[in-house]
Structures are given as structure tokens and as C-alpha cells.
Amino acid sequence: MLDKIQKDREKRQSAWEAVINYFRKRSLYMLHYCTGCGAIELPPIMTSRWDMERFGIAPMATPRQADILLVTGYASQKTIKRLIYTYEQMPNPKWVLGFGSCTINGGIYWDSYNVINKLDRYIPIDLFISGCMPRPQSILSAMKKLQEMIGKGEAKGYERYKQNYEWYKKNQRKLLERETPFLDGGEK
């Protein structure tokens, strides 16, 4: 009996979630963290050529109000720190879009001493956009895809971050708070 009530409640909650998710996917406030060259692709998406506002996506100035964190391009060791700080300031639910090859595997900077290769080791990324640079169309299609995922309740990056918080913190700490050199050869 109790089980049944519990199950019913879960079902109801999920129905409630589904309704809310509809509103969430139709209204996304975006904080663009313009680290690299990718920022130049944003104006065409926002202005009259592609106009992302028709999908309910609007730019916002502060992380407190944002739903999406758009990381446009590579993140260096120094920027990743700001990125994590910003991401943690955003209230739930929140999603991260990795933009361009650099966020996937470092792109052309893959063997550089300061460019992060895999961004999703440090913050949970819901969707990557491949390309160097990705064209505005692909960004828009990624947005649509993200909306679809949110609508279905699949985009759960923020919950992944909560569940695997220790793992993410460990990776972040390894990079940012290291005490020994990575390579032999040691101190300068």
C-alpha cells in the first residue's frame, strides 16, 4: 500500500516535472563565457539573421539569472577557475554548452601547456558543439537539441555534478591546487 502511494507520488512528481520542463525548455537564459574566438559567432545568432530569441533564448548578464552557461572556445588553467566559480554561482537547474573543438579535446591547442583538453572533467557538460568554429546553424541546432533534452528530462548535468561532486572537485583540485610538478624534471 505504502509502496503504491510512493510510486503514485513519484509518478505525479514526474508529471509535474514534465510540465515544468516544458516551461524550462521554452525559456532559457544564457550566460556566454567568451573565452576564445567563438564569441564572434554569437552576434549572428542573436541578431536578425538567425534570431535565437524566437526559441525563448535570451542573453543575461549575471550567472544568478542564467540557465545555460555557454563556454565559447578554449579554457586555460586560469579561466577554468573563473568558469567553475561562475558555474557554481548559477542556481539549479542549469546546463552547460561546450562550444567548439577546444572544449571537447583541446582542438588545435591540444598539446599546449595551458589549455584544458577535456572540459567535462571539470564541469558537467550537457552538450558539445563540434567544429572549429561551429557555424551559427550548428549552434542553433545544438540549442534545439538541448531544449529537446530538457523537455525529456535528459539534460541532468547539474545533478551529475551534485552526485559526482567529489570526482569533479578532485579533478579541479588536481589542476588548480597541485603541489608537485606534473613532469619529472621538477622545480624551475
Partner: protein, 628 residues
């Protein structure tokens, strides 16, 4: 029972006792003070309705052939002032009793009781002699309190002293002129005599000394410079008294002597049914409020800022009173009473902040509200009232003042008053933010806590009073109906119920409006707490454009917006305002001092020129007298 005599004599006696025996013991002093004010309050309360009551004292002083008789006559206006003064002082005393633990406290009880007994003389005096005695008797103790016997307050308190001595001298001159013209010192009689031969050429000049005396006391425009300085140098728990009560004596004087003369056409000439002189003085009130408002924008000392706010409110009151219409008087008196209440409350909260932090510089404060919530709520309600926003008492009286201005169709005046009224919002928000909100300073994080309950009592009472008068203006206006009847307030302006505000251009049911406001607030509160959850974050976890403040050594001190709050505004307007009056009084003081030094030097020098010159002047005067 001899009420007034008792209060005056008791005040002097208590002052002496404290000065002789309890100078070091602040607690006993303040308890005596509370007992005295409470006792006097009860005594005065019993006099409501007995408007024929008077106390006469025989004296042996002769002035010419007239034997002076001192009479204290109960009157409605004086009674309402007195009851407020003793009530406010009572609660202020409770606050000060708590405040006396602080190292910033001084034992000002002996002087304060003297001031209170002097106020009785002013408020109930039937003749000018007693009025003048009370007036001077009020001025001097305040000077000693403001000065605090410290050198660093010398120049600030000098502004108070010089201007108020000027006012006192002007008052004496005025009384002499009145006596010369009417051969009587009784206030009421002299007014009627003056009115009976108003065509005389002296009429206007006769009033000028009185204008100066009363405008100085009420810190109106050209004389406003003393107010911010006196407030900032006075002990924190005495500032409420200056703003709440002291400056109202000027308004009382105007109501007592100038208003009856002007409204009966003592000075010929009218403009739209208002005596021309009064019309210009109305504009003086507007100028006072605008100047004080603009000066308050750039003020960093919280007590000075609120002092400017008081000056601005005095401007509204003067405007209303000098309309010389019954509705204007109603608005003026109502605003005087409301201002007494909310400004005392505001200054008490500032004193509470001072009590805990020991600074009056707003840039050194911030975030106090998180540690002193009651004080903050009191201050908030106080400034809402001061800004004249609806559910508080400031709105009700401002409504009547606006109605009074519109009744006379002075539309430009109403627009100008809107400027001052909106400007109040700016500096009050600045005070709210800089003192109470924003980031809390590291040095205040642990040391600051809420004031003890004893000191909260006046705050609670004040909050209740402010809100209840705001919702039920009849609480104040209804008891005053006999007075309004005596000045001829038309029946349509007299309250029919507790919550119906009268007005020339329409009425307002404050209770209904308050219900609607409460309804909306409840609705929003329900909405807020029904929807998604919220959780708390520390203050430094804040939007910093992605930077961790700790990395840059940025602490709460530097993450607070405190300097140059209205800088764009100041840049454009302040040079114009700063130059005008402050500079004038500074130069005035400078040259007066030089003149004094020059005379001083005459006697200091070894040569006998000075003596010869003085003797010469005396001889010239004597012979001149013979010749003329």
C-alpha cells in the same frame, strides 16, 4: 494643583540635585529624568480640555509703571507641543538610560531638565517676558550640550551659538518694538492692539526681528547652517531632541505670534487671497526644503544627513503654515507632530547604531541591519514616513499640505515641493543602504549586536505610532478639533471618521487603502513562499564577474558601494549650492571675528588711543543726546 509651576520648579530642582550629587552616576540621573518626564507627562495630560486654566505668579519687577505679572496660560497648541515634548523625552530617557553604558554617553541630564522646564515657559507664556526668558533659557543649555565641552566641536557648535544668539537678540528687539507700539507685553493683547492700528508704517519692520528669531530656531533657509553641525556634534542621544523638538519651537513661535498677525492682514497686500509677505515666506519654505534636500545628497555623516532632512521637513511645514489658510495650518501642525515622531525615531536608531559601532560616517558602516534587525525595521519605517510614502504618518500630513497648496491654486509651488519630496527618497535610500545594507564590515561582524530591550522600547512605540497615525490620522487630528475650530477650519476639512483624510481636492480613506496594501502584500507573500524553494548563501558569494574576491584581497570593506553615491548629480549641481549660504556665513563669521580682534587690539596696545577713542565716542553720544 499648580501644574506648570511644579514642572518648571521640579525641573530646576532635579537639575540642581543631579548636578550637586549625581554628576558621576549616569544611571540615577537618567532614572530621575525618566521619573520627571513621566510625572510631568501625566500632569499635563490632565489639562486636556481645561483651556481656561492658568497660573499667575506675582513678581516685584516693574517695567516703567507697569508691574509685571507672570502668567502661564494653558492653550491647545502649547498643550499638544508640551505633551509631545514630555512624551518623547520620556522615551528618549529610556533610550538614554541604556545608552549611558556607552563611552560616548555624557551626563546631560541636568541641562536637559532645564531645557524641559524652559519649554514650559515658552509654550504656555502669556506674556513676552516669560516667553523671552524661556527662549534664552532654552538656547543656552543646548549650546553646552552640543559643545560637549570638547574643543573639536568648538567650530560646529559656534554656528549654533552665534545664530541662536542672533535670534535671541532679534527677539528682544522685536519684543521691545512691540512694547513700544502697544504699551503691553501680553501676547494676545498686543496682537489685537497691533491689528487695530495696522496702517502704521512700522508694521513690516516690526515683524522682521520675529521672523529672524523664529526662522533661526527652526533652521529655515538662510539660517539652516547651524542644524547639521549641531546635530553632528551633539551627543548621539540628544540629536533626537534637537530635530524632533528644538527646531519646532520656531514653528510654535510663528503659529503663536506671526500667523495671527499675517492672517488678519497685518501687512497690507494680498496675492490670490494670501498675504503677499506670507506668500513669499511660503516660497522660502520651498527653497529651504529644496536646498536641504540637495545638500543632503552628498552628505557622508549620517546625523548631518538626517539633520538636512529635518531642515527639508521644516521647509514643508513653513510652506504650509505661511499659506495662512486653516487647511494649511492643519497640514503644518499635523506635519510638525508627525515629523516630531518619525524624526525622533530615526535619530534614536542612529544613536543605537552609534552606540554599537561608535561611528557616524556612513562609509565606515554597512550591513548593520543583519545584526540589528529591530533597529533596522524602525529605521526603515521611519524613513518611509520621512519620504512621505503611504502607510506611514508622513504621507498623511504631506497629503494635507499638498491639498492646502492646491486649494490656493499655487501649482508651481506644488511642482517645486514635488522636487523636494522626491529628492528625499534619494538621500534616505542612501542612508538606508550605506548604514544598514550592503556588505557588513569585518570589524562589525562579531562586535555589533541588537541593542538591549530597554533601548528598543522607544523604537517599538515609535513604529506603532508611525503606522497607526498613518492608517488612522484621526488619532492626532480628532483631539485637535477644538484648535482647528478656533482658527476657523471649514467643516468640510474636519475629520468625520478616524481614517478619512480631509482635503480641498478630494478625500482619502486611509484605512481602505491600507487594507488594499495589506491584501496585496499578503498575496505576494503567499506567492513567494508557495513557489520553488530558496536557500541561503553567504554575503561574499556574490556576482564578481567570475573572480573570487579572496584572490584579489578584496574583503567586505572594498565590496561595498559607499563613496560618491550620487556623483553624476553632485557633479552638476553641488558647486552651485555649496557656494551660496555656507560661504556667506563663513565669511560673515570671519569678518565678525576680525572686527572683534580689531577692537580687542585697541585695548591691548600700550598706547592710549583706545581709551581716548572710547571716551571721545561717549562724549559725542552724551552731547549728541543733548543736541537731539
Amino acid at each position: 494643583m499648580i501644574t506648570f509651576g511644579t514642572i518648571v520648579i521640579l525641573g530646576i530642582l532635579i537639575s540642581l540635585i543631579i548636578w550637586l550629587f549625581f554628576r558621576e552616576n549616569k544611571v540615577i540621573s537618567w532614572i530621575l529624568f525618566i521619573l520627571y518626564t513621566g510625572f510631568s507627562f501625566v500632569l499635563l495630560l490632565r489639562l486636556y480640555g481645561q483651556w481656561q486654566y492658568y497660573e499667575a505668579f506675582k513678581s516685584i519687577i516693574y517695567l516703567g509703571n507697569i508691574k509685571i505679572k507672570f502668567t502661564l496660560q494653558n492653550n491647545m497648541l502649547g498643550w499638544i507641543f508640551a505633551i509631545l515634548i514630555f512624551g518623547i523625552s520620556f522615551f528618549n530617557g529610556l533610550f538614554s538610560l541604556g545608552f549611558s553604558k556607552s563611552k560616548y554617553s555624557k551626563n546631560i541630564v541636568p541641562l536637559w531638565t532645564l531645557i524641559l522646564s524652559a519649554s514650559i515657559l515658552i509654550l504656555f507664556a502669556k506674556d513676552f517676558i516669560l516667553f523671552f526668558v524661556g527662549w534664552e533659557y532654552l538656547t543656552w543649555p543646548v549650546f553646552f550640550i552640543v559643545n560637549q565641552g570638547k574643543k573639536k566641536f568648538y567650530s560646529d557648535s559656534m554656528y549654533y551659538f552665534a545664530l541662536n544668539v542672533l535670534g535671541g537678540m532679534a527677539l528682544m528687539l522685536g519684543i521691545w518694538l512691540v512694547f513700544k507700539n502697544t504699551q503691553t507685553l501680553d501676547i494676545k493683547t498686543s496682537i489685537s492692539i497691533l491689528l487695530s492700528h495696522k496702517a502704521s508704517i512700522h508694521t513690516f519692520w516690526l515683524l522682521i526681528p520675529f521672523f529672524i528669531a523664529f526662522l533661526v530656531k527652526s533652521a529655515a533657509y538662510p539660517f539652516h547652517v547651524w542644524a547639521p553641525r549641531a546635530h553632528s556634534s551633539a551627543p548621539a542621544d540628544f540629536s533626537p531632541f534637537i530635530s524632533g523638538i528644538m527646531i519646532k519651537f520656531g514653528i510654535f513661535g510663528i503659529l503663536l505670534f506671526i500667523y495671527p498677525l499675517l492672517s488678519k492682514g497685518f501687512i497690507p497686500g494680498t496675492y490670490h487671497g494670501v498675504p503677499t509677505t506670507a506668500y513669499f515666506l511660503s516660497w522660502l519654505g520651498i527653497i529651504t526644503s529644496i536646498v536641504a534636500t540637495v545638500l543632503a545628497f552628498s552628505e557622508n555623516n549620517m546625523k548631518r544627513l538626517m539633520a538636512y532632512s529635518s531642515v527639508a521637513n521644516v521647509g514643508y511645514i513653513l510652506t504650509a503654515i505661511f499659506l495662512t489658510t486653516p487647511l494649511g495650518i492643519e497640514g503644518g501642525i499635523f506635519h510638525t507632530i508627525n515629523h516630531m515622531i518619525f524624526k525622533v525615531i530615526i535619530f534614536i536608531t542612529l544613536a543605537a547604531v552609534y552606540f554599537r559601532t561608535g561611528t557616524a560616517d556612513m562609509s565606515k558602516l554597512g550591513g548593520i541591519a543583519y545584526k540589528m534587525p529591530i533597529t533596522f525595521m524602525t529605521f526603515l519605517i521611519g524613513i518611509i514616513a520621512a519620504a512621505g510614502i503611504f502607510p506611514m504618518n508622513g504621507f498623511t500630513s504631506k497629503w494635507i499640505i499638498f491639498q492646502a497648496i492646491l486649494e490656493k491654486h499655487f501649482y508651481l509651488m506644488a511642482v517645486a515641493m514635488f522636487f523636494a519630496s522626491t529628492g528625499a527618497f534619494l538621500y534616505l535610500y542612501r542612508a538606508l543602504h550605506s548604514i544598514f545594507l550592503g556588505q557588513i564590515k569585518p570589524e562589525h561582524r562579531d562586535s555589533v549586536k541588537e541593542v538591549p530591550f530597554l533601548m528598543q522600547i522607544p523604537m517599538w512605540i515609535g513604529m506603532i505610532l508611525i503606522i497607526s497615525i498613518g492608517v488612522f490620522p484621526g488619532l492626532v487630528l480628532k483631539p485637535l478639533i477644538p484648535f482647528f475650530n478656533s482658527i476657523g477650519l471649514p467643516a468640510k476639512y474636519i475629520l468625520t471618521s478616524l481614517s478619512k483624510l480631509p482635503g480641498s481636492f478630494g478625500q482619502l480613506n486611509t484605512l481602505n487603502a491600507a487594507i488594499i496594501f495589506g491584501f496585496a502584500a499578503v498575496l505576494v507573500t503567499i506567492l513567494f513562499f508557495v513557489v520553488a524553494k530558496h536557500h541561503k548563501k553567504p554575503f561574499m558569494d556574490n556576482y564578481t564577474a567570475g573572480e573570487d574576491p579572496k584572490d584579489w584581497g578584496v574583503d567586505e570593506n572594498r565590496y561595498q558601494f559607499a563613496y560618491g553615491f550620487y556623483q553624476p548629480f553632485e557633479k552638476k549641481f553641488l558647486p552651485f549650492f555649496k557656494r551660496s549660504v555656507d560661504m556667506f556665513w563663513q565669511y560673515f563669521g570671519f569678518y565678525t571675528k576680525h572686527l572683534g580682534e580689531w577692537f580687542n587690539n585697541i585695548f591691548k596696545d600700550d598706547n592710549n588711543f583706545g581709551y581716548i577713542a572710547i571716551i571721545g565716542i561717549v562724549i559725542i553720544f552724551i552731547f549728541g543726546g543733548f543736541v537731539l
